[in-house]
Amino acid sequence: MSGADSCLANAVTKEEAVATTPVLESFKLSEIFDSCREIAQDTEFTVAKRWLEEHPGKKAIGCFPVHCPVELIHASGMLPLGIIGAGNQIEVTYADSRFQSFVCSIVKTTLELGLTSRLKFLDGMLFHSICDPARNLSSVFLRNFPDMFVEYLHFPQNFASPLARKYLESEYRRILDGLQLRSGHAPTADDLNRSIGLYNRIRAGLREIYRIRAVTPHVISAAESFVLTRAGTLMAPEAFLEMLENVLAELPTRPTRPKDRIRVVLEGSFCELPPVGLIETLEQAGCYILDDDFLRGWRWFTEDVPIQANPLAALAESYSERSHYSGTKHDSRETKAAHLIKMVKEKKADAVVMQAAKFCEPALFDYALYRKALDEAKIPHLLLEFEEKTWIFDRARSEAETFVESLLFD
């Protein structure tokens, strides 16, 4: 039964469902989401550290946004962890002297995590070619943390050429060579395919979550889906898969009722993470967020990466051919705006919320072209700039409410 059908069935027998569902069961989902929220905001990485203690000899590698080929790390016998800034959880005291005021917060809070020794438990960090500040951050890490394995992965931007795939395959080989030196385990093709298989299942689970959200957005909120996805980047993938499967099992019987909200697609938050409170504010202001690009890098593929004899080639090909459009991908074969509009139509959304991190050059550049295309397609849109370190969402609430009202009462 599809998610939508099971929800419809629930709506008919809701009273019976609530009456017969054991109290523990109906709390299970909220327990899981509460625990995910805690994990998402934990700048001491407690869950990951516990796993490392329980698996002595194992190492962890931090992955900075956007997309990281985590399978390479996992197949080498190490734990990939999403090191994606510190949100609104820490004060920046040291990193401010290294990066200027006009640089996005995530670069500074990530450096702060390093400079306050919170990343000592990691054996290394992987950075990627997403923008200039992130690239410079990798250099700063290289210089300031000489004991760490710090690598920078250059993703190809020449998508129209078949050369790009061969290039990326050799780049993945280079990174893998470095990783295995650190871990002491040289992965075989089978090891890589096992890791690909595992992450394929996780990504399929997340795609299912997003499918459910698009069809029945009242069943799981964007904030819940966000903390779930984020928690997944901070724990062992095996444990996350189990959690994800529990959530998917519980969702169909979740007693909820649709609300009168506008349906939006959210774009621009592919790197720096918005505070959960901001997402909730948007939802409470009257938006169903049917789709978003939160943690886009960890949900990069639109379908499974094929299992084949050459796993690095499969990953390299999938990077460009089985992936979402994104602010950090400059695929000249089709404009990002065309993809965005297609997404809006597919999800039957009413509007687009462009939620860009302050100072995020790629997202802010994209906005100028998205705005033009959305105006031409007569799709209403709202630009919200945010910072990961915000605590107060009053302005965002009033902007969102005004936007919602303009759509509901047009």
Partner: protein, 424 residues
């Protein structure tokens, strides 16, 4: 004690030669815009295959150079504002905004009408903004775009990886096929070799000119005068005009060195300058340093299109490979901080400098993001006095003259004081 503002620019022959040559370059652009000229290939400065473009007798057009000319002529702000009205952010690179503003105003500038692109050749050499810039121009112009992907020089090896060189060379071959289709002619390989020879000799001369500032006094300012010599290096590299300019420039600079002539009456401080200049306020910015007798003896921005003073040359025997290495390694923007720090350290030590001045610009995160770490390294690890100041390269709204002057004055006052202490 600060000197009275000294006469700090020279009016040599090369200044007029440059005006004349660049004037002709821009006249060619206008002719192309009017349909009477060559095919226009838009490219970026930071390491590009202009030699191939010249070999196909096409016209290289540089949005960056156009943007900086607009800023120098104080025309950039209205264009930036019009771009912001369209949805570009105050935090987006102002070079791009000025250029987009100009593109959408029928590409008319005081110095030329810029032709429509026949091809947007995005040589992705470090700067991520390049990718956005040309993506946007592709949207507005509907011209074909080729992303020439140059992997970042990200390894701690003396040279880029062979895989990277091969990847770039193969893309250059793809580019040649594209240019052949556009022109209807096969690549004239011997013509390319002659052009490579011109570039090679030009690079040799530029390298000689750069090394002259090891003299005391330096015969010219390696920041303020160098950035004015850059236009022929980009717009005319690979041409006879370009070579002639640098032959003249080298002769003139050598003469000044032989006569112990510097740009200032007295060279009191020798500095290395890091970062782009504030184009709308070149004069005022220069005066802030001249009044202290401070002369730049090296700069990184003057190497943004290529670094020749450490031995690199375009090689007619290996055209595609040397073009690839130029783009991968021998420019500033495709280098990581470790290499950039080493380059600055070499300038300080081998050219002999008293201090490092870091001009951080809001628009350019490639240069600027993380320069605090650069300052940390130079002051704490190397003991080099370092000044970090902020403004912008294109947007006049971010230049606080009084504040900047105070910071510069305080810095040189303290340097002067240190000197007196040491002398005692």
């Amino acid at each position: 004690m600060a000197q009275a503002a000294a006469k700090s620019d020279y009016q040599g022959r090369i200044h007029n030669l440059q005006k004349d040559m660049i004037g002709r370059y821009y006249a060619n652009l206008t002719a192309a815009a009017e349909g009477k000229g060559k095919k226009a290939i838009y490219m970026l400065i930071s390491g590009n295959p202009v030699e191939l473009i010249e070999a196909f007798d096409m016209l290289p057009v540089y949005p960056e150079v156009n943007a900086l000319q607009l800023a120098v002529k104080k025309q950039s702000l209205p264009l930036i504002l019009s771009a912001e009205e369209m949805g570009y952010s105050t935090d987006n690179c102002a070079y791009v905004k000025a250029d987009i503003g100009m593109y959408l105003a029928d590409r008319k500038t005081p110095f030329a009408t810029i032709p429509q692109p026949d091809l947007l050749l995005c040589n992705y050499v470090g700067c991520n903004v390049y990718l956005q810039w040309f993506e946007h121009l592709a949207e507005y112009s509907k011209a074909p775009i080729y992303n020439l992907d140059v992997p970042f020089f990200r390894t701690a090896t003396p040279d880029p990886l062979e895989e990277d060189v091969n990847y770039v060379v193969k893309q250059l071959e793809e580019l040649i096929e594209m240019l052949e289709r556009m022109s209807g002619k096969a690549l004239d390989y011997q013509k390319l070799q002659r052009i490579m020879q011109l570039s090679g000799e030009t690079g040799e001369l530029w390298s000689e000119i750069k090394k002259l500032t090891r003299e005391r006094p330096a015969p010219y300012d390696a920041y303020f005068d160098s950035v004015m010599m850059m236009a022929p290096l980009y717009c005319l590299r690979g041409t006879e005009d370009g070579l002639r300019f640098f032959q003249e420039a080298c002769k003139e600079m050598k003469q000044r060195a032989d006569n112990h002539q510097g740009p200032l009456p007295e060279e009191k401080f020798r500095v290395v300058m890091e970062g782009p200049p504030p184009w709308p306020f070149l004069r005022q910015f220069r005066d802030m340093f001249s009044r202290w007798g401070a002369v730049s003896i090296a700069s990184t921005y003057s190497g943004v299109g290529g670094i020749w003073e450490f031995g690199f040359r375009h090689d007619p025997q290996r055209p595609l490979e040397s073009i690839a290495r130029h783009m991968l390694q021998w420019n500033v923007t495709n280098r990581n901080f470790m290499q950039r720090y080493k380059q600055l350290k070499d300038y300080v030590e081998d050219w002999g400098a008293d201090a490092l001045v870091i001009h951080s610009v809001k628009s350019c995160r490639l240069f600027s993001a993380g320069q605090g770490d650069m300052r940390e390294y130079f002051t704490k690890q190397l003991g080099v006095p370092t000044l970090l100041i902020e403004s912008d390269l294109e947007d006049p709204r971010y230049f606080s003259e009084a504040q900047l002057r105070n910071r510069v004055d305080a810095f040189f006052e303290s340097l002067e004081h240190q000197r007196h202490l040491v002398a005692k």
